[in-house]
Structure formats: C-alpha cells, structure tokens
Amino acid sequence: METAQPILQVDHVSKVFAPQLTPVLKGLTFKQEPGQFVAVVGPSGCGKTTLLRCIAALAQPDEGAVLHRGQQFDDPPPWLSIVFQDYTRSLFPWLSVRKNVAFGLRDLTKNDRDERVQAALCAVNLEHAADLYPWQLSGGMQQRCALARAIVVQPKLLLLDEPFASVDAQTRIDLQDMVMDICQTMSLSTLLVTHDIDEAVFMADKVVVLSARPTHVVEEIAIDLPRPRDQLATKETPEFLHLRHRVYTLVRQQAQKAAGGNVTEKV
C-alpha cells in the first residue's frame, strides 16, 4: 500500500507573500516515489526554501496542496526530517553536539536514546566531537551535526536545503558521498535542494528544474545512472555529461529569463 503511493506529492502549489509582489511559487507540481532521491535545482531566490517549508508543513501554500502518502498535514508529518540551509542558526548553541542530536528523540529509554545518538554520530563521523558545542565546530562539522540530528529520528523523507553550500570543495564532495551512503542504507526518500547542477545530477534519481519567479517546474529529468556512483568514474561517463548538459542548459535559460526581467511564460 505504501509503495503504491508516492511519498510526496506537490500539487499545483502557489505561495504569495504580499499581493503586490510577484508570487513566489505558482502552480508548482511534482511527485516523489518512496526511496527516490530527488534534486530540485533553480535560480537563486526563486523560492526553494519556501517550497521546502511548504512541503514540511512549516508554511501552508496559498493554493494547491502538499500530500504526504496521499494525506494533507497541518503540522510536520512524523516521518519527515529537515536540514535547514543556514545550519549555524539551526543548531542549539546551548547544547553539546550529542544533546543537539538527541534533541529530536523522545519516548525512548535512555539506553535506546544513547544508542541511536551514537549510531547517528558514527554515520556522520562526529563521535570525536560529541561533547563539543556547535560553535566550537567547523562549518562542515556543524553541517554533519545537523544531518545527524535529522537522521537520528529514522525518518522516511529527508529534506535537505542546500546542505553543502558554504563548505569547501573537498568537504562538499565528502558530504555528498556521506549523504548518498546514508540515504541508501536507511532507504530514505530524499529531497535535495541545491543550485549546484553537478551535485544534483550526480546524487539524484530525478532532477526537478525550477523556473525563475513566479516559480514552477520547467522540467523533470530522470537520472538513470547506475548506483553506487563514484565521484570520478560516474562524472566521466558520457551519460553523466549529457544529463549535466541538459540540466545546465535549462537552468541557464531560466537565469537569463530572470535577469531579463519577469517574462511570464507558459509551460
């Protein structure tokens, strides 16, 4: 029953912050199957964070609906986890890394909780920093802490809002591999928002390309590259390069449209 139904359906979602402004989202539609890794790419400021907040039921769309396993939610569904874009602000500065990760766990015995936290910290290679405070960590470590907090609750759907922005290139690559690994082993459905096209194509089963504002889906591109994927080997295959080219062309068109003023277009 669960497998028959998409884990997530975004159905003609529109969001307007102020009536006199261009809508941020306009009729945005796509869906995600269980276990699927979906990457959403779109120009900067097009409303990707707004979209994720609507999906997480932290905000409600003005039109349309977000369905989780066919159901509409007023509060975040229990199987959903999110890693916010601005990780420095999303960690509790008064809690150690361990306690930040444990924050999401309730209704468990202390033993179970410690075990789960330990496992999550291991998965992101952060055991050695468990007793430090977030502000004592590097950016990459803070991001891994936020990731550990998101997976410790064993979610079904993981939302990632540009999780690898503002870390250096090597860390970024390591984090990509780590996230793909975790999502595979936990058989998570993952929705990754990014503006890095390589990243989107490399990690995802499907890339959803967004337009400039008012934002809608321009195209959904299936990425049928075999797994496990390798940072070097996969990125050198002609299939990868071809897909990357397609996504890149679409995104560039949108960026030019955004720069050339608000041309409204029909899909």
Partner: protein, 263 residues
C-alpha cells in the same frame, strides 16, 4: 601574566581607597566628636553585632526572608509570563498596553495601597518587593523570547514538540541570557523595596533597625545597618554572577567567538 597584573593592581588600589576613606572618617570623628560621626570601631562593633545572636534573627533574617521569597516570586512570574507573552505574538496587543502602563508605576507608590490591602504584614512587604522586581525580569524575558532564532522554532516544530515543550526546551534557554540581565536589575530594585517596605509599620528587619536606631540617636548602629545592606547586596550580586556564569557558560563561549571583546 598581563591578565594577572591587570587584575591585582586595581585590587590593591581598591583596598587602599577603602582604607583611606576609613582613615579620613576616623580622623574626622576623633578631632570633631559628634553624634552623627561615630568612630569606626563603634560602627564595626555594631556591624558585627548584627550578624549573630538576637539581632541576626530580628534584623537580618526577616529582611532576607522577605527579599528571598519576593525575589523568587519575581523571577518565576517574570520569566514564565515573559516567555509566554514574548512567544505568543497573538497575545501581544492585549497585554502590551497594560504592561507599558504598569511598568511606569514606581513600586513605592503602591506601598500605601498594599498596606491597606494586606495590613502591616510580611505579605504586604513581599508583595511590594515582588511588584517592583517582577517588571525588569518580565520585560527582559519578553524581549529575549521575541529574539529567539525562528529557525530553532522550526526545528522544534519538525520534531513535533508541543507549544509548552517549545517554550521550555527552546525559548527558555535561548532567552536565558536576556532574563539574567533582567534579574540583575531586579535584584537592585528588590533591595531598595526591601528597605523601604520595612520603614513603614514594621517591627523587625534591617529597615526597621536603621529607623529605630536613628530615633534612639544610636548612629553607629544606623551606619552598621546601612553597611549590612550593602554587604547583602554585594553578596547576592556575586552569588548571582557566579550562578549565571555557570548556567550561561555556553553563551559566553559563543558570544566570545562572535565578538571577541565579550558582552
């Protein structure tokens, strides 16, 4: 090394200045004996008398009891209501006008009214002290709760904390630095109100002790009482700062990184 020097020289100076002031006082008292200028050793003797035996129980303890109870009430009420009001924006338009009005009423002004209400009782004094010292805590807590990082609230919502749990586990710790700033102000107000409340229709407490000895022209006891109040204020402030330093260790570390000059 530099830290040590920067610390010890002012300390020596401070001791020197206090000793100098005492010496001048004593010198003045010796060459110009007057009732309002008792000699230092008499003041010291009066001061020491205050801290043991009958006077401890009739002056210090009642004052400390009222101060303690009222201060506790102020801190609990102020932070509970402050955090709630600061978080629930919907309540703001209802509560804000009343608060803005009440905060301008000096606590002293309600003393006669509370005397009518409670009589010359401990309750009356505790009420007056608490009334005056609740507001700084309340306003600081409201302010702290308003400035909580919204993303942390989102984090709490995603793990489906109830509103009450969010207040306790997210808003309270986040607002704590602000609340402590309010508590420090509240402490000094509480001391003032403690003394004032004991000047009216009292038969014990430090305020009463000072007033009575003034009427008896026992000036050394008057000064001793004043010094005792200073001692209590200093001790409570130091205790509060020590407590704050432990509870807010994370905040000092965190702010220290953001702004190396410190708060």
């Amino acid at each position: 090394m530099t830290v040590r020097r920067a610390h010890s020289i002012p300390l020596l100076w401070q001791i020197g200045i206090i000793a100098g002031l005492l010496a001048i006082w004593q010198w003045a008292a010796l060459i110009h004996p007057a009732p309002y200028l008792p000699r230092v050793e008499n003041i010291v003797a009066g001061y020491v008398r205050l801290w043991h035996g009958a006077l401890l129980w009739s002056a210090i303890v009642p004052s400390m009891y009222r101060l303690g109870v009222a201060f506790l009430i102020a801190v609990l009420l102020g932070s509970t209501f402050g955090i709630t009001l600061g978080s629930l924006r919907g309540l703001d338009p209802w509560v804000r006008p009343v608060l803005e009005y009440l905060r301008f009423i000096p606590a002293v002004a309600i003393l006669p009214a509370s005397l009518l209400l409670f009589g010359a009782t401990d309750k009356m004094r505790i009420f007056v002290i608490a009334f005056g010292s609740t507001f700084p805590v309340l306003l600081a807590a409201i302010d702290g709760a308003r400035r909580v990082e919204p993303m942390l609230i989102d984090v709490a919502r995603v793990i489906r904390l109830t509103i009450a749990q969010r207040l306790v586990r997210v808003v309270l710790p986040a607002a704590l630095p602000s609340i402590f700033a309010g508590i420090r102000i509240a402490l000094s107000i509480a001391l003032v109100m403690m003394v004032i409340s004991e000047l009216i229709a009292a038969d014990d407490g430090l305020g009463f002790y000072i007033l009575r000895n003034q009427r008896l022209f026992l000036t050394e006891n008057v000064y001793a009482g004043v010094l005792a109040i200073g001692t209590i204020g200093l001790a409570l402030t130091l205790a509060l700062l020590t407590f704050e330093k432990r509870v807010l260790a994370w905040h000092h570390g965190w702010r220290g990184l953001v702004d190396p000059k410190g708060v």
